[in-house]
């Protein structure tokens, strides 16, 4: 079997706050296979962004990666110096955020910001870098790229800014792109264009993508593999088509049933909501962390320590005692 391009093993990231230790990511393992998109889905606060930031080694105090390994290109990223990590960020692994304004500098022209990235990682003359920038902007579907290079971020619409972000992320032809809710702030028409763009880039360049979203529709559109997260844990992992056809974890099933229109197209049928809310990470229940909301919970879910990723005969890895 092929080796993963990026392999996260038992990652634990925690925030040491005044109120206690927030275990934002608790023993999560992920495998990104070459040229495929791994979708990470789950409700807000379940640890998706912290996972992404941990891979980039961008966790700030009071947060810290306390355990785990992140294998990339024969190296464990967690053992690298900050210096070595800087040369990987943006060049070999790059990141796209939900709100482009957080990573675009408002006081520099967008063209200059891309040129800067190119010249930081590759030896290029100004003329070469500027030609390459225009090419990149064209590739992400920005009309009149030469003129747009002179724009400041605030002069562009949200969709255009997100395209600039993607152009920056692909500038140095990275092996892995991590996209954290890249379309959440956009209108559906723009979202569809951005997803098409990501798909096209992946086909053309063979880039591997980690796509984080809370939207199962987006996952179905672009991911080949899926990890479902809940309360800092990966609770189910499968091929995309398997997870939609045969969701195993009661949480995954609940997420699917909450989507309007998936089951009921006519008439006003009640949606099956997941009862309650995600518990605070500081007050997680004993046993399975989903037992406060699970319609199938039985004694073992409260009394036994939480299950690991089980591998049922008919199905895929899932963290649930129903399949023991």
């Amino acid at each position: 079997m092929a080796l993963p391009v990026l392999h996260v093993k038992d990652l634990k990231t925690q925030f040491f706050t005044e109120r206690g230790v927030v275990k934002a990511v608790d023993a999560v393992s992920l495998k990104l296979m070459k040229s495929l998109t791994l979708g990470v889905v789950g409700e807000s606060g379940c640890g998706k962004s912290v996972t992404a930031l941990s891979i980039m080694r961008l966790i700030q105090p009071p947060g810290r990666i306390v355990e785990g390994e992140i294998w990339f290109d024969g190296r464990d990223l967690l053992t690298l110096s900050e210096e070595a990590m800087r040369s990987i960020r943006g060049k070999e692994i790059s990141m796209i955020f939900q709100e482009p304004m957080t990573s675009l500098n408002p006081v520099f022209r967008v063209g200059d910001q891309i040129i800067e990235i190119l010249q930081r990682h590759e030896t290029m003359s100004n003329k070469e870098a500027s030609a390459r920038t225009a090419e990149l902007l064209k590739q992400v579907g920005i009309p009149s790229p030469r003129e747009r290079m002179a724009d400041y971020p605030h002069q562009m619409s949200g969709g255009m800014r997100q395209r600039v972000m993607i152009a920056m992320a692909v500038a140095c032809s990275p092996q892995v792109i991590i996209a954290d809710e890249p379309t959440t702030a956009l209108d559906v028409t723009i979202q569809a264009q951005i997803l098409d763009l990501l798909r096209k880039l992946k086909e053309e360049t063979g880039t591997t993508v980690l796509l984080i979203t809370h939207d199962l529709g987006v996952i179905a559109e672009v991911a080949e593999d899926v990890v479902v997260m809940y309360a800092g844990r990966a609770v189910e992992q499968a091929r995309c088509k398997d997870i939609f056809r045969n969701p195993l974890h009661p949480y995954t099933q609940g997420l699917m049933q909450s989507i309007p229109g998936r089951t009921a197209h006519t008439g006003k049928r009640r949606l099956t909501a997941i009862p309650g809310v995600v518990p605070s990470l500081l007050e997680l229940p004993a046993g399975c962390k989903f037992n406060t909301r699970c319609p199938h919970a039985f004694e073992r879910c409260y009394t036994d320590p939480e299950p690991g990723l089980l591998e049922p005969d008919l199905g895929h890895p899932v963290r649930c005692w129903l399949y023991a």
């Binding site: 209108d187 264009q193 809370h214």
Partner: protein, 327 residues
Amino acid sequence: MAAEQNTTLLTLCGVKKHYPITRGILRRQVGAVKAVDGVDLNVNRGETMGLVGESGCGKSTLGRVILRLEELTAGEIFFAGKSLNALKGSSLHRLRKKMQVIFQDPYSSLNPRQTIGRIIGEGLVIHKIGSAVERRERVLHLMDIVGLRPEQINRYPHEFSGGQRQRISIARALALQPEFIICDEPLSALDVSIQAQVINLLEDLQEQYDLTYLFISHDLSVVRHISDRVAVMYSGRLIEMAPKDELYEHPYHPYTQALLQAVPVADPAAAGKRKELVAGVNDAPFPPHGCKFSPHCPHSSPECEAEIPTFYEVRPDHWVRCYRSNA
């Protein structure tokens, strides 16, 4: 549009809201943002009218002028048969009891320094309804209706999750027993599992209290689930309106078609089967006089750019603003 008079709750006739663009120290008006530019709409008693369209197309502005939070530039609005245009003072005050609103971000629309008991009961105080004891009873009843616990009455908004805060604003909206509620993106800030809880609650309340909703959203799946009829807005105007299944199954306007195609379907078997999308972005620097969608439209003709098509009934109850429809 000829809906039976007795069932119509809200009627908009040629409603416009323009914001002046001024320049220079004399603040000379050099133009106008035509946020709402001629909307005709009927909302029937007891129905949910969905209003969809991309951000900036004028949905929230339309909501605000209906609520009379802002003055109209042109047109007329009727509520329960009475024109709202001339309403002032105490009659406007009375109308406010009948119409309520729930906003997207329940956090910024709830006063952080007030307990939720005060927030929910505020309308009762303003309208001098009941004694203090009676008001407290009513607030507790409202909290029960929306699924909040009585002991939470003295807590503050920041102590609640997003879904619970939306329950607080729903309770506040219900306090004065309104007939009509504008829901402006009420679910957009919530996770799907919580969204489903709030959708169910809104539907239960509608049935129990005969509420009429104008449900504004950019989420087409949610709108299809909750609405009876759906109106599509583009650049300040309605461009299509129909009963929901008719609209979703037979979209007529090229913009509506693009919008529906863009919705990601939670079914991997359907993924990647979309046609290449026409850009729906309403960001042409010089929009044409005619149909504002024509620069993006695969079917546009010189006629489209010259003059705005009329709203035309292509099938019973299915209205479209497109020259292809009245050819």
